[in-house]
């Protein structure tokens, strides 16, 4: 399987492509095309699974207008790595356990996968995963973001999330007093 015409990814993706020629072509918002194996897409993304089952996959590239090329690349990358990292038998059981235990710790390769991402890429990936209904990827990315938030002050969090502070000074002071230990007791 080839990942994006311009960016031939790794050798292992080809191996998968040989085993399973059935691929799905996805088109990002800026028109770039990505291919991902149908099996991985259907398993990891509820939305893509629905599209495949409904026969609404376009051979020329299914339009995903919500997702930028960088995020889609990461999504496809994740799908491929996921397909390669775990044997298929374990995958089925683990995909079941995702539903029952949503807080399963990310595995080592997943950790590395999200660690190399920049802030913006991570947030884009969260959005893409949310849009495509990729539970596991959403879990991994949310875990990463929550780890980033730990020990941060509200100001820092606001900066990261680009949130406007809608509290008045008095309200903020009130909250601080209410939760004094949460702010100063580290």
């Amino acid at each position: 399987m080839e990942v994006d015409k311009g960016k031939g990814e790794a050798e292992e993706t080809r191996k998968v492509a040989e085993a399973d020629r059935d691929t799905v072509t996805l088109k990002s918002s800026d028109g770039k095309l990505f291919e991902v194996s149908k099996e991985a897409a259907a398993r990891l993304s509820t939305v893509l699974a629905g599209m495949i089952a409904g026969g609404s996959i376009d051979d020329n590239g299914t339009d995903l207008k919500q997702i930028g090329s960088e995020a889609l690349e990461n999504v496809v990358d994740y799908c491929n790595k996921h397909a390669n990292s775990i044997p298929s038998a374990a995958l089925i059981s683990s995909s079941i356990s995702f539903n029952t235990a949503p807080f399963k710790e990310p595995e080592e390769w997943e950790r590395k996968f999200v660690d190399r991402l920049s802030h913006d890429a991570l947030f884009d990936l969260v959005e893409a995963a949310n849009f495509l209904g990729m539970e596991r990827l959403l879990d991994v990315t949310c875990h990463k973001i929550s780890e980033m938030m730990k020990g941060k002050s509200p100001d820092q969090i606001r900066e990261v999330f680009n949130i406007k502070n809608d509290y008045t000074k008095e309200e903020l002071e009130e909250i601080r007093q209410e939760l004094a230990w949460a702010f100063y007791d580290d």
């Binding site: 509820t46 939305v47 699974a49 629905g50 599209m51 089952a53 409904g54 026969g55 609404s56 376009d58 299914t62 339009d63 207008k65 919500q66 949503p102 807080f103 947030f123 969260v126 959005e127 949310n130 495509l132 209904g133 959403l138 879990d139 949310c142 875990h143 973001i145 929550s146 938030m149 730990k150 020990g151 941060k152 002050s153 509200p154 969090i157 606001r158 999330f161 680009n162 949130i163 406007k164 502070n165 809608d166 509290y167 903020l172 909250i175 601080r176 939760l179 230990w181 949460a182 702010f183 007791d185």
Partner: protein, 608 residues
Amino acid sequence: MDASREEAASADVAVQAFASRSLAMQPHHQQARDQTVSPSDKKKLEQSILPSLPRCRAKEAGRWPPGFANPVETGRFRGNRSSPLPASGRSRSLPPLAAVVPSPELRRAEGGSTRSGPRGGKVGNRSVWAVSRAAQRGAEKLRKEKAAAEGNYPPGDAPYDEEAELERALHQSRAEEEGGAYEHGGGSGSRGGNPMSRLFGRSSSVRQTPGVVDYNLGSARGSTQPRIDTGKWTQKVQIIRSLRIAAPKMIKMILVMVMAVTGVVAVPVKVLVVAAVAVMVAVPVAMVVVAGAVVLAGVVADFVSQPLPSAGGRTNRFGFVNPGGHPILKEGGRAVSASPQSIEIWDPFRRRSLRALMLPAAVAVESTKGRRKRQQVTLASASPYIPDDVVRRILLRLPSQSILRCRAVCKAWRQMASNHRFTREHHSLQPSLPLVSFLRGATSSSTNEEVDSVPVDCCIEAFDLHSDEFRPTVRFKDTSCGGRFDVRFYVCNPARHQWTHLPAPLPSLWFAGFHHHEPTGEYRALFYRDDCTDDQWPGTDYYILLILLRGHSSVGFYPRSVVRALHGGGDELRRLCECTKKGHTIVHYESSGSPLVPPWMLHAAFTW
């Protein structure tokens, strides 16, 4: 009949004597009774108690919280329907002054034999006996407590006040309980009439306290629909009569006319009439047909002009979702399917697709023009980039301290993180920690000898295997002095490592533990007092302390499982009183029967 009447009549005298004696002996008691009589106090009491007993106070069963089976109703207390009090020999209620006391029983009760006594006998005799014994015991208890309070406890001390307050509330509750009986049923000593009717009067008459009427709107005087009259009754009758007379005449006239038309009038005229009728019918029919055709044409044209979504073959004519497989929808000229959480519906009339988000809380329908717009639609939009459900996911993964800090980020986050559902979900998602209890000194790394020494200041600690540290949970501090028993309890918030004093309902209570109250999701503290030293009422009293998260004056009840356990064991549990103090509602329960052993925790539930 005559025998019981005589007995009751003779007992009347005894009662009056007894009542006057007990009143003279118990000014405190009298005071409590006076309090109930005064309307302001009564109102206050109702305010504190009534919210817990909505609408059910009209019946006797109303004294029992929903979780309880009323022993009177369930037949636990057999016979003696005339008395609302349980006729069990261990009733602790204070007697009404109307108690009818046969003199031999009175002597017996005075002799101190409170536990043994004739259980059978006539109905009247039984009730009389039970009530008198209860009266005697109540008086004894009061005297004893008063003596204890005056003798042993230094006056003006806070714990003493606490007890006094609770006792007063207890009396108030008791008196109030019986106050209704005085006014409406029971037959007081001063009241005349048939003694038998007095005996059975309470059960036959509807026992209602004055306050009850407000709470019983449904049954008492149901709102009846006012009758709608269009005219006078006589007018109507006249009209009907005239119609009855006129109708046959009119029918006759019509018959005559028809016969005339058919028989007398010539045939061409008949044809004309038929044609005219036909035309009159045909015109409206034609109009209706034309209008229908226009409407149909409009609809068809709409469909023709608007090509159906070019989705996969499973979309039906209206572009709705195929029922069997995944939803297939249209967006941007191309079919797009939706996740199971959301369904898109193509609306051919408005010529756009709608997305129905199937959220667990609510179903929202919104346009899918883009996420910017979607976020504007969402009410509590927290972050401009990340959808709220994703923010929720992120926050759920945070430790509690960080969540609290995140409340200061913005209002939407605070709303999200303060939600009761959110906190409960967060709690349930935390890894369960294996906790091992240790009894250790609270102040320092003290050894066992120090723990044993007096005064006691130790805490139960739990060892968290994950973080390899001790987590204190409950702390006991013995502040006993001068022979007075007073152990203070503290609970620890493990996240904050802060101690909070657990206000004990009464001094000399032991803390049994916390239990989770399923319906409210609260944790409640259970106290107990072993009264083995008390000859009057051997047994164990249990007290539940409700620390309420919301509001200040809601009342909780004993958990059902506990009640069931108690009832299963042949013991009875009565709610004696409840009072609200500093936002905590204290419900006092009395258990009768064999002395209960303190409960222990098994699988996070109390077990006896």
